[in-house]
């Protein structure tokens, strides 16, 4: 059905392809996420999990799209077969753009990230995007705030799960795109929003050197956009930080 498949990555959850849905030349590339059948799982358990996860991801994306959050558009959903096709984003992950401190990875962290056309030259990776690092942090904060105002919780906010569009590809839409809603769910609880932010804070700390000022500017932008809701989230975020790793081990 899909044409010209190119496998980009295999994560724990799915195989990710760059593909075309139509033979038409004008057709645009899509990102095809295939949650393949897991042989180790009982067939009926696997089928129901796959169906609900694909549907859940599509639902979260739609909810974001309706509320004006910048996420990839949906191109095709086939929940029983574990297929989800979304818009192909021309650009790079924020993780790459910030230059991660980690040992170079052999493969993308979760396989769910479409990384494409990364500049090979030794210029600063952000240069072709015409965005300063600070402006990028503001974009991140604003997008997350928009998503939380729509009561969508991402569930796996990391710098790998955000992309910056190349300016030429689509001038009108927002530049920063949140991706991989595989763990997303709907919730209006302050707790869930705070945990979402805490996950991002930990991701910044573990992948980028001297991330503290970066994350602070993300939070500042988030605060401005959240308006009245900010105080409750801020208070809970402080609590969540104190909790640290969930619990001390018992037994």
């Amino acid at each position: 059905m899909a044409l010209a498949l190119t496998l980009i990555a295999q994560g724990a959850e799915a195989k990710v392809y760059r593909a075309r849905l139509h033979a038409d030349r004008a057709a645009q590339d899509v990102l095809l996420k295939h949650r393949f059948h897991k042989q180790y799982r009982h067939a009926s358990l696997d089928a129901s999990l796959t169906r609900s996860r694909v549907a859940g991801e599509a639902r979260a994306l739609i909810k974001c799209l309706r509320s004006g959050v910048s996420v990839p558009g949906i191109r095709m959903v086939d929940a029983p077969n574990g297929l989800l096709a979304i818009e192909w984003i021309q650009g790079s992950s924020v993780r790459f753009l910030l230059g991660s401190s980690d040992e170079p990875l052999d493969e993308p962290v979760d396989g769910d990230l479409p990384v494409s056309d990364q500049p090979q030259e030794h210029q600063h990776p952000l240069e072709p995007y015409g965005v300063s690092q600070d402006a990028l942090m503001v974009l991140i904060g604003v997008e997350i705030a928009k998503m939380h105002l729509a009561d969508v919780i991402h569930g796996d906010l990391t710098t790998s799960n955000m992309m910056l569009r190349l300016p030429s590809s689509s001038p009108s839409t927002s530049r920063l795109v949140l991706i991989d809603f595989g763990l997303a769910y709907t919730s209006s609880l302050v707790e869930d929003k705070a945990v979402d932010l805490y996950v991002l804070e930990r991701a910044f700390a573990s992948t980028h050197p001297d991330s503290e000022p970066l994350f602070t500017s993300v939070l500042n932008a988030y605060q401005t956009r959240m308006g009245k809701q900010w105080h409750a989230v801020a208070r809970r975020l402080d609590e969540v930080r104190l909790r640290g790793r969930k619990r001390s081990m018992v037994g």
């Binding site: 897991k38 042989q39 180790y40 358990l45 999990l49 052999d106």
Partner: protein, 366 residues
């Protein structure tokens, strides 16, 4: 994970080293003697275990378990020393479980360790129970740098090594998987001999239907208490036949205890394999090592094997001698840290019920 060629900080021993390991963090009392030879090989000289078995429908209580350990300590240790063919005087150190585990049983065994240490003038080494499992698993299977799934009655963790620390990637948010299986075994009155988990496994082999149960993975963590509650609730369902037989010739829509065991196993093991796979994808490892009592479950090993093969990797598992709590693993982990120059002074040979895997400084690995 990129292969880092770094020399192991652990030098080859200049002479053979011997250690006695004592374990009693739950209902198994174990003693074992291990030898590290000059060529770098390890030999298990003896590995003796005695299990406190309770009647069907009952779990083991801390006080009674501690009582059991006190009664059996001398027999088990004598047996281990005799089988090993070495004498107490030849030992280099005595290793004991510092935690985590049940308080009272831990204390009884630590007391025995202290007494032996004073009697024979041998240094003591306190060992983290989980690290003991990991080190023994690595030694037996030869797995180099695996993602470790540690599943037992008290612990459920996905662990990977990084910078001299066993980091916990995912864990249970409530009860351990062994606890979940054992408690269900009690609900349907399965025997605790040799272990409730083993009897669940045998029962599950007869099961045919998969009943819908909650499936609660949260990122790299799992939650198991709700699955247990739901399975328990199904025993109150009017379609449940506790004797496994239909009520009459027209009785078609029913399920049996075996079906419930099957469904419970399939569901919780799928959750465990999934979080292990997430950890493997995250760090880019292709090896999985399963340790802990539940690790001796062949269905879990099979599912993990399928997953690992799909990723082009392989699974390592040990049999019940080393999976289920034992003294030799404490000796192995203790001797490794002893050879790095670590001992526990008598005043600090306390036990703790809460001792996270990632609190241990793994000095012996690069």
């Amino acid at each position: 994970m990129p292969v880092r060629v770094r020399r192991s900080p652990l030098a080859k021993p200049d002479r053979p080293y011997l250690a006695l390991g004592l374990e009693g963090s739950a209902n198994k009392l174990g003693a074992g003697i291990i030898k590290h030879d000059v060529d770098g090989s390890s030999t298990v000289l003896s590995n003796v275990r005695h299990t406190y078995i309770t009647p069907p429908g009952e779990g083991f209580l801390p006080r009674d378990t501690a009582q059991h350990h006190r009664e059996w300590a001398l027999n088990v240790i004598k047996d281990a020393v005799q089988k090993s063919g070495v004498s107490m005087q030849e030992l280099d150190c005595i290793c004991f479980t510092k935690g985590p585990g049940m308080g009272a049983p831990l204390q009884s065994v630590a007391l025995v360790a202290r007494t032996l240490s004073l009697l024979f003038n041998k240094p003591l080494v306190g060992v983290n129970h989980c690290v003991g499992h990991i080190e023994m698993g690595r030694e037996i299977t030869g797995a180099q740098n695996p993602v470790v799934l540690y599943v037992s009655g008290g612990n459920t963790q996905v662990i990977a090594y990084s910078r001299q620390c066993y980091r916990i990637f995912g864990e249970t948010l409530d009860i351990a998987v062994g606890n979940c299986l054992d408690r269900f075994a009690r609900v349907i009155n399965l025997s605790n001999d040799p272990s409730p988990g083993y009897n669940i496994e045998q029962e599950a082999k007869k099961g045919t239907q998969l009943l819908p149960l909650p499936y609660a993975t949260k990122g790299m963590d799992v939650s198991l208490s709700g699955v247990l509650t739901s399975t328990e609730a199904l025993t109150m369902d009017k379609r449940f036949r506790s004797d496994g037989q239909p009520k009459g010739p027209d009785d078609k829509d029913f399920f049996t205890p075996a079906d419930l065991c099957f469904s419970l196993q399939e569901t919780v093991f799928a959750m465990l394999v999934e979080i292990t796979e997430r950890a493997m994808a995250h760090i880019g490892s292709k090896e999985v090592l399963i340790v802990g009592g539940v690790g001796s479950n062949e269905r879990l090993q099979e599912m993990m094997g399928i997953m690992a093969r799909e990723r082009g990797g392989q699974v390592f598992a040990t049999d019940e001698r080393f999976c289920i709590d034992n003294g030799i693993m404490i000796a192995q982990a203790g001797l490794l840290s002893f050879r790095m120059g670590y001992t526990t002074p008598l005043s600090r040979t306390t036990c703790t019920q809460r001792f996270r895997t990632d609190e241990v400084h793994v000095a012996w690995r690069a």
